[in-house]
Each structure stands twice: as C-alpha cells, then as structure tokens.
Symmetry: C4
Subunit: 329 residues, 4 copies
C-alpha cells in the first residue's frame, strides 16, 4: 500500500481507502462488512470513511460493531465522520442538520457513540451551509479539537472560496483551519481537483479524500450492457444517477476506455482507479465494494499505477474530453 | 411552524416559543406544564426559555422534570437559562447575583442541575451589570463554551452600546461574542428592536428572543373589562405592571386595536402576536400560556401573519402611536 | 457587613475577612475553628483566606474539615489558596516550591484536595519568583482557569512593576491578568497601598486583600505592657516580628494612638482596623482571631469606620508619621 | 545535588539525571531498576527520562512499575517521555510514528498508561519530522498542555532553525513554545551545544537535557583494552556505535584524557561527566548506569566539578580538539 500525507498535515492515509457509503446496512450485513474491512485492513487500507447520513446512522453503527469486534489498535487506522445532513432523514428537525454549532457539536457526540470510539481522526462538514457564518463553523470545529473529541477537520463539496474563507477566519482568530476536502473525482468529474482547488493546494495546503472514483460504477464498464439488478444504480435512492450518468455519450466513452484498458491488459476498473490516484493532489480514493473479490480487484489498482505513462494519460484525455481548461490569468 | 436563524448564527428557533417565566410553579403544576410543553413541541416549538430567577429556581426544576419525562431527543430542542438575579430571592448573598465570573460559572452549574442536562444551548446575561467589566463577562461565557457547558451566549435588556462593547472585547481577544438579545417587544414597547439595535442587526448580527409580546396580557384585550382574579396581573409580584400598563390611554388603544382585529376576523391576541413576529429582526416571541386552549390559540398567530399588509400595519401604527423616530443622522 | 468589588472584577468580598494564617492548627483546634468561622460567616464575612504554607498544609485541611461540616452553599463564600512556599517545610524539594508551571499546577491540585472543593475562587502567587518568567506564571494560572480549577488569580507581595508585567503578558497573549494583590497593610506599613500601587489602581485595576492589618497584634495595644505567653509574638516561628516591630519607637506611637481611641471612645483595635478599611483601595482586611469574643470585637470595627473624619486621620498621621511621600512627577 | 532551571522555565532539574534508555528491560530487570532509581532519588536526582521507543515501550512500563511501587510524591520528580519512533518497531504502521497530531496525541495517551501517571512533566519530539509542518507540532503540544496531560514540551535532535521556527509559530499563534532540547553532548559531540544553539540560549531561552554524556561509555575508558561482553557496545542494536566511535583516533584521545584524570586524582568517568555539566548551558546530563556502584560513581562527578579550572579545560580541549569554531559574524 502507498500512503500519502493529507495535504500539509502529518496524517498519512492509504491511497486507497474504504467507506461505508451506500453499501453498509443498505447492501451488506455486518458479517460481510467485517469480511470487507478485514480484507481492506490486511491490504494496508488505514482510512475508514463515514457520515452521519449514510444509511441514516446505520452505516456508522455497523462500522462501530465491526471495529469493536476486530480490536485493531485504535492508532492503526483513521476514522472519520461527517456532519450536515443529519441521520433522521425526513424526521430531521431544525438544528438536527446543517453546520450550526449546535448540530456540529451534537453530531460529533452522536457519531462517537455510534462508532464506539472516544475521538474521530477527521470530522468533515458534509456540505457548505449558506445559512451559517463560516466563522461559526471554524470555531465549532476548533472547540471539538480543544476538547479532544476530534483531531483534524475538513470539508466536503465546498467551493475553493469557501475553504479559503475558513482559513481566513482560522488565521485571524488563531485557530486551526480545515485540512482536507472530500470532493467527487473521477474521469467525468475533474473541475475541482484539477482546476478550482489548485490555489489551495499551493497556499494553505489541502488534502483530498475523493469519493465516487468509479463514477458510481459507471467506470467499471458494468453498465455497458444495461443495469444489473443488484448494482448500486438499481438501488432505491440512486435513481438520480441514471439520468446524469447513463447518457449514451458517457457509455460511448467508457467503451473507448475499455479499449485502452485492453491494450494495457488491465481491467477498466483498475485503469480508472489508477488514473484517479495518479493525480498527486489526491490523498486517497474511497472504495465502496460490496464483495471480497471486488474489493481485492480494486486494491490491485495500485499495481496498474506505473502503467499510466504520459502517452496513456493523453490518450485517456482525448477520449473523455473532460480535462478542465485553466483560467488564462 | 416557521423557523428563523438566531441573528447571524446557525441556530434555528421556532418563531413562537415557550417560556417558564411567571407561569411555571407559580401558576401551574408539573402535569399542566407537561401538557403545555407537549402541545408546544407537537406544534413545532423548539425553544424553551428559562432563567435562574423564575420562581426562584422552581421553574427550571419543573421544566427539568418535564423534559426528563418526555425523553425527547436533546437535539430536537433549544434550552436556555439566564444568570443575574440569583434564585434565592431575598436570601441572595453577594456573588450569588450579578455577572461576576464566580456567579456566571456557578449559576451555569446550578442551572444544568436543575434542568437535568449536560449543556445549555443559550445562556443569557439577564441584565447588564454596571459593576462588572464587560470583558470579564465575555471571558466567563467563553470559558463555559470552551468547557462544553454552553453553546451560545446572549444578553437580556442590555443597551446597544453594551452589546457592542461585548463584541469589541470578543473581537480584540479572539473570543465568541453575544449572539442574541432578549428584550421586551410588543405594540407598546418598540424602541430597542425598531431603533436602538438597528446598527447591531446590520453589523455584528443579533438575534432576538422577545418577551412579553402581549404586554403581560394587555394586548389580549382581556383587561378591557377589568382584571380577572386568575390573570397574571392579579398575581403577587406583578403589581408593578398595573401602574405602568393599565393606564386608560393604553386601554383605549387596545379597544381600537380590537376593531382592527374584528375587521380582519381574527382575535386581538393573534393580531398582536402576528404583529410582533412580522418584524424580521425578531427571531422568536416567547409565549407563556397557562392553559392548553390558550397556547393553541397563541400558536395560531402564525396563520394571521399573512394578513398583516402594509395598510393594516399603518393602521395599527396610527392607533398605538409607539413607532420610534429614527435619528436623522 | 460591607462588601467591595475586588478591583475591577465582579467578585465581591466582605471588607473584613477571615484567614487561617498563624492560627489554624498552630493555635486553635478544629472545633474552635468551626466556632470562629461560624461567627465570621454569620456576621457576613464571605472570604476565607488560605495558603499551602500555612501550618504546612494543616490550616487548609482544618478549614476543609470545617467547611465540609458546615455545608454552607459553596456559592456563598470565596475560598482562596496561595502557591509558592510549598507545604513540606524543610522537606521541600525543588519544584515543590516557587512559581514554575509544575508547582503552580500541582499546588492547585493539592489545595483542592485539602480544602475538599472542586475549584478555588482565588489562587494567589504567594511571592514573586525571580527565577521564573512572569509569562510562565500568567500561562499557568490561565490554564487552571480554562480547566475550571480556579476562577481568579492574584499575587501577594509582588512589586507594582511585576504586577504590571503580568498584565503586559496577559494583554499580549490574550489571557487573563492578575486581579488582586495581597500586601501587608497597617498603620506602620503603607508604602505599597498608598504609593506603589496607585498607577495599577488607576489603569489595569487591582483589588487588595491586606494581611496583618493590626501589625501582628501590635496595634491592639496588647504589647504595651510586654508580650503575653499565648500571643502570636510568643509563638515559635514569629521571633522575626520581635526585632522588627517591638522597637520602643513603635510602642510609643501605639500608646499615643490609644489616646486617640480613648477620645473617640473606641478600642485601639477597632480604630486600627477601621483605619485600614477606610482606604477605598483596600478590598478586604484579613482577620486572624483565635477567640470568639476577639473576632466579634474585630468585626465591630465596621461601626467605627464613620468616626474616621479627616481630622482624626490627620491626627493619626501626625502620630505614626508613616504616610508615604508621593513622587513629584 | 545541584539543580538548574530548564532554560527560561521555572522547572528545576538535577544536574545529573537518570534515563531508561538502552538499559531498562534490555539490560536490567525491574528489581535492578528499582534499586538504581532508589539510589538516584536518594542522591537528589529528580529527572527520569523516557521515550516510547526505548525497548519498544518496555522501558516505560518498567519505570511505571518502579514508580508505582516507590510511592514517591509525584511532585518530587520530573517525568518525561518522547514521541516520534513509535513503540512497535518493525510493526509500526503509518501514523504510529512521526509528529502528526494523531501520533503526538495517541503517543501521549499511551505513555501516560505505561508510566501509570496522569500527566507528563515534559514531552519531547524525539526527532524533527520533515513531513509535518512545525505549526502542527506546536498546536498538538499546546492542545495536550491545555488538556492538562503535559506541562512542558521540548525537542530532541532538532536543528536550531527548527526550534526557532517552533517559537515563531508559538509567538504568532499565542501558544507555548518548546522549552528544552535533548541533544547528544560529550567531549566528542560539541557542535550543537557550544555553537548551533547559542542564539537560542540568548533569545527565546532553551534548556538542555543531554544524552550520552560519556559517548556510550567510550569516555569511561573501559574500551581502552577492548569491548567487554556485557557492555553497551556489545549489545544488539548498537553496532553502529562501533564504527563511529571506536576509531583508533578517539581511543588515543581517551588515553590522553586518562592522564589528565590521573593528574587530578579522579576517574576518567568523573572527569568526563564533570566536564559536560561544567557548561552552564547544560541543564542536566542523563545517566544510564546498570549497576549501583557504577551509578554512585557517576553521581560523584559533582564533586569533581570544582577541579575543572580554566587550565584543565584548556588541556582537555588541546587533547580532544573538538571545540567548535564559532562563525566570524
């Protein structure tokens, strides 16, 4: 396994990591989660990603049960949660979502209970909250750090300007700024990592823990011949992915990428994942496999990384045509 | 129910809320309090207001008992207390009142015990304390925030200058300033909300949790024909309200307001409450009903809110003649 | 009882207070201490002064036992301790005395245990420590405040320059500076209160809790005819007082003061104590009586205070000739 | 015993101290450790030095057992640990070594457990970590100080520039900077103490707790006739010392130093240790004896200190020829 520093911090994350999103509780049972986390851990994965909203709290409870059973040394892995959406779904009341100091504080306490741990390594703001001053968010995260409940804090799907403003308040108030962002990043979603965040990478420093590195499975090639019933795209709640992703155009590109993979004698999945982590601004790509063999295949992408020569990447760019154009000035 | 952000903060309060002042322990028993809080909560009220001095601590104890029984999720409501007057009445010793760091700290510990909770969402300074530097107050509240015992702090009946000075110290010392003020506000008391605090609303931001929106019941019209025995005005300790409020002049105005209400086909109570919350600078108006039907009627004011057209408001102003004159410069 | 704000803070101390110095454990047993503290408390005394070094910790233990028995509300009195000399006497090892962060922290923990309380209201640096940077002292006291173990901190027998330097560091680092000084003050020791500290009173603010208001009993007149065996001056460890205080010159002055007292028809003790608290820069004068009647007489000094006219004070000054000369510029 | 302030701080360390490095668990059993620590403590040694990596945590466990048995007053000694290398040796995973906030925090918690104490007096960064911003290190140490888990923090084998940068961040952020450095210092290793750190000594202040004052035993003269089997140099893991130290050149110098010792009628060990602590920038020299008589002889070096006249030191310099040349500007 390769490990990378999370931005400017001293924290090291395995370049491939494992998240409970979509799969825990919704698709897999505790014993499968146990098997998958065992495979991940044994292969050097040290970052396990969560959020209060995943399966409305059930994902964290499942991961908490698995970790309690494993009895791995707490120092050997990095545990995260995220605050914003709440875990009560349609029963969410005001202050049970968002980034008020009340919800940030209460969400942290609740996540610690569900995960059966006394501190989170990383606590993410799952989305920006336009209704809460970023200064309040910075204060709230720092209070949790001072109280020993979290070690680092980050953002997810925040704009570069919002992240920069958080650092502005942190520097002015002598507090600790956000160290990491969790954006979507894959061959079809490149704007933030490859363009928007560049100034952040070069100034305050920013780690990235990217989600959906396979574009919800699209980049595995498995939808080339239709949507299988057990796949993520067929599960309730992800119908939105259909419209957005399954356009003919994207499927055509995926088929062309398959040709590149075939030439390299690797799977399209491995090619796609290797491409994501070939970007040095990516700290880790979060995997969400539901089966052991699938997870092991994903982890194999590390071996494909050396094959991504300048020529291969150029060929890929010419197929997907998603490379962001940088501003002239 | 409508929810509003408390000033610039991320905390959301129901625009109508419920307080233990006057009523708890003095007028109602625990089982009535239980019924009333149930009605409030079921109607979306999420802010329950208290103070150490209300019924000399007994109000908080009663609310603590009710909340312990209800077992509502602690994250689903916002709980406050206030420090200043102490809860021992004439037995108050030095340092058992006021805003010294000693009393602020000890009053917080005592309120947490009475309310049977581990943190307050909002802790108010119930009055300004001319004998304590505002810097000491800011420090004391921030120490409680750092220790996880309170989440936000505010003031009650402070002047605009005092609130601004608190922010001055907070900004200079890199601490958290007061987020909310609890002033009296109703058709007969408009100076602070409509004039004095305007600059605060526009600069540092300030939520308001207004008390006595019905001018101690005067604006319900129930005193138009004399003071009933069970009413608040007849209860020991509120004689001061008689002189101040029950002047003939005010009663005349109340009767004219009744005509406006009649024209709109709504109750005077609903008109008066709707008028209070029609001011966007009001975060919430605190209700203090003693009977279920009364509380339900009060909560109905939300439905009257859309009827308050510019014309209606102008007519009301011409009757009460209490609109503050803004300074020319 | 009269109460005064401790300098600029909100804390109020009774103008006459009670300390365990010299008397507790050395001269009186727990049951006498219990009686004396009861008299003091019943007469409105709310400040009980201690130090780790008094009777090498035994004074604090005795006061802790008395307070545990009394079950007075913890908010009704102000409890202090002091750090510097340690409590092991000749067995003191390095770091068991002085103002290092180690000793300040450990001395606080130990005082809390001896006094059977969870926080001190005031924690004094019993002397300046020339070997420790004042910045380290300021930090250490602030860490204890942040941890909820003390509420205010002060100094004892520090020079005005040292106190000012402590405020310099506090202001630069955004910390809380010392709020109170405990100097000796009586008709024979006036330099600090009446001259050195004037600038502090006028700028950063400074309360004073003065010790030895009766100059170790000299100003009671009881040594006019020799030293009684049970008196403080005859007790082991206070021989130093003999040389310094019992000069013929001072005894002559005391006899002349007795004439002033006789003219006013008050005791010399009351005149001397009233003179001390007639200075508005004195927050409180600490009493150390060993007998009930003695303490009650001391407390009676409050009634003598109104007799101290400008003329009486001028006569006193002309007798003692100890009034400091202020610098010309 | 002589005690010295640790740099500018108020903490006093015995000029000769005792460490668990190399010896605890590897060379000696708990009962021998108990005997040695008893001798040290009875002779006035008050600083006991540890690190997570010493015997991979076993040294700290042994010292924790000894201290638990001794029941010395916790305030009578100074306990340290160090974070950087981890304690799992080749099993160390990412984040189980280095100076990330995660490892600093977790290493502190683990050291407290092994040493059976609730706070460390000093927590050292055992090495600089080029991959972690020094700002993160400063923050992490200050968070532990604020949480009451450590009292002072320091560095070991950091460059002068790195230490100065730590103070830069501490001053900018209003935090507490590193107070002490633990470098190697002996007659053969003089560059840092006698040249590199001079500016630090003169500005921010810096204590030093030097290790290997006898150059791993070389300066005892015991290797003059070959390496004995039970010596440190023969123990597994210290082979690197052989190449570096046992050059013919050094042995020649050691033999010439033996002549100086003979002239003074003292042992070479005592001469070498006395020379180390004759430098006033040295706060303490850490001893690592394995036998009682050896430790007692080492502690005797204090008596040799007065013999180190200017002439003797000049003679020593002319033999070792290791005195650093200071920069001209």
């Amino acid at each position: 396994m390769e490990y990378r520093r999370m931005g400017k911090t001293g924290l090291q994350l395995s370049v491939l990591s494992f998240g409970s999103w979509v799969t825990f509780h919704k698709q897999i049972e505790t014993n499968t989660a146990d098997t998958l986390m065992g495979i991940a851990y044994d292969n050097g994965v040290n970052f396990f990603d969560n959020a209060e909203v995943y399966a409305l709290g059930e994902s964290e409870k499942m991961m908490g049960r698995v970790l309690a059973g494993k009895q791995w040394d707490r120092t050997s892995y990095v545990l995260s949660s995220k605050v914003f959406f709440g875990w009560r779904g349609k029963q969410n009341k005001p202050n049970q979502t968002g980034l008020s100091r009340k919800h940030i504080t209460e969400a942290c306490h609740e996540a610690l209970q569900r995960l059966q741990t006394s501190y989170l390594d990383i606590f993410f703001c799952h989305r920006p909250d336009k209704n809460v001053p970023i200064e309040e968010v910075v204060w709230s995260m720092n209070l949790l750090i001072q109280q020993g409940k979290i070690l680092y804090w980050g953002t997810s799907e925040w704009s570069a300007t919002e992240i920069m403003e958080a650092h502005l308040h942190a520097q002015r108030l002598h507090l600790i700024g956000p160290a990491v962002e969790q954006p979507e990043y894959n061959l079809f979603q490149r704007q933030k990592i490859e363009c928007d965040y560049l100034q952040l990478f070069n100034t305050v420093g920013l780690g990235t823990t990217v989600w959906s590195p396979l574009a919800s499975g699209l980049l595995t090639g498995k939808y080339n011949n239709g949507i299988p019933e057990q796949s993520r795209l067929a599960i309730q709640g992800f119908e939105w992915l259909k419209d957005q992703k399954l356009q003919q155009d994207k499927l055509d590109k995926v088929r062309s990428l398959q040709d590149v993979a075939d030439e390299l004698n690797v799977s399209l999945t491995n090619l796609s994942l290797a491409w994501v982590i070939s970007n040095p601004h990516v700290t880790t790509a979060i995997l969400g496999a539901t089966k052991g063999e699938q997870l092991e295949e994903n982890l194999n992408s590390l071996n494909v990384l050396p094959l991504l020569s300048t020529e291969v990447k150029a060929k890929i760019d010419s197929i997907v045509r998603t490379k962001p154009v940088l501003p002239e000035f």
